[in-house]
Amino acid sequence: MPQFFKRLPLVIVILLVVLLIALVIVTSGQRDKLTTIEGVVGEVITPVQGFMYRIATSVSEFFQSIGERRQLAEQYKILKDRVTQLEQQQLEMDETVRENERLKALLNFKEERDQFTVAGVRITGKDPGNWFNTLTIDKGSKDGITVNMAVVTDKGLIGRITEVGKNWSKVRTIVDGQSSVSAIIERTRDNGMVKGNNTLTFEDGLCRMINLPLDSDVVVGDRVITSGLGEIFPKGIYIGEVVEVSSEQRDMFKTATVKPGADFQRLEEVLVISTVNE
């Protein structure tokens, strides 16, 4: 018997290992709702985490702003020119928009359903490991957020909600290795899938757009938007810009490297939107 008790820790470890492996298998895959324990832990920690995240963001922004101040004068001149240029473009745009409206009415086009904004939320934390790219936000089912809603900023698509708690939710970003988004090139209308690339960390923050047809004339600088297929993301959300195109002879498809419009390193406030207008 003493011999057995000496070995007890080892026995416990082996039991726990088996138990945890079972737990991993059970909980992996798609889950809509969090378990009770998950919910409670999240509810307690989220506010504290949000507070810390805000402090850390402002500290890093402070150091950044010192560097930015030096280039202000130079940038002011460039921006002024740009404003004049854009004002000109705006005028032309307005004209086109009006023309477009007229033509649409004429053709009796059915308008696509409006995107419906559910909530503006704050980021409270980022996945601590180096393998996945998920975020937590400070609103959940209480505010009408459900799984698969899209998360965006004004600069572009962030990702989608994967799990929802009472006052917090998890977001899988589009740069996560397990994420894939159906997308089209805005200019050429070629369909493809945008997949995350964050596991190859040197290109951190980049995505790959795969399954582009071989005869597509996609070039560097083309804009990539969501296609609306799959009905998770509304159609026409800006994802990013093509920075590299590669086609290997043995593949039947072209692949483009896409730089997302949103800056995933410095996220603070984002919007949650849904395709369905309730």
Binding site: F5, V24, E38, V48, K126, P128, G129, F132, L200, T201
Partner: protein, 170 residues
């Protein structure tokens, strides 16, 4: 007393790790502070403590961020247990030995992660995963180890920390 101190350290860690460390990233890699903690506890108090810290620290991480509950808990628990086996069997100095051990622990965790991703069917060429995540993470984690180990050994000089866990019949 001891258990509350450990819980407080774990909670502080998860908050620091997700809120503060993203801003310390170098080429997209951040240090694995939970592994540092697990290694410290295992080297200073043996495999039982190392294992428990790994288990609960990992569970906390899984619950808040994980794709499936139990994955990091499993990794950290096994690493904590294995490192704890060295407790009182080898001479542990202040810098080199903890640094080397946490480096090896990080490599081991990286390999377990690759295995998990393989089962999840996330395709990463293994040399990429090794060169771009596992090795840099191990190096970056090891850099922080001497400081953390020094602080933790100061903590373990307090009397309340030296009480032993019991696996005994009542």
């Amino acid at each position: 007393m001891k258990i509350w101190v450990i819980i407080a350290i774990l909670l502080a860690n998860i908050i620091l790790q997700s809120a503060l460390l993203p801003f310390l990233q170098i080429v997209g890699i951040q240090p694995d502070t939970l592994l540092i903690l697990v290694t410290c506890f295992a080297l200073l108090a043996g495999s039982n403590t190392g294992m428990l810290v790994g288990l609960f620290g990992g569970l906390l991480q899984d619950i808040l961020y994980g794709n499936s509950i139990g994955m990091s808990a499993l990794q950290y628990m096994v690493i904590g247990y294995l490192i704890g086996l060295l407790y009182e069997k080898i001479f542990v100095d202040k810098i080199v030995v903890p640094l080397f051990i946490v480096f090896c622990g990080s490599l081991l965790r990286g390999m377990m992660m690759m295995l998990y991703l393989y089962f999840c069917r996330v395709k990463i060429p293994s040399h990429y995963g090794f060169a771009l995540v596992i090795l840099p993470e191990a190096l970056y984690t090891a850099v922080f180890m001497p400081l953390a180990f020094y602080l933790m050994s100061l903590l373990y000089q307090q009397r309340f920390m030296s009480k032993r866990w019991h696996f005994r019949r009542i």
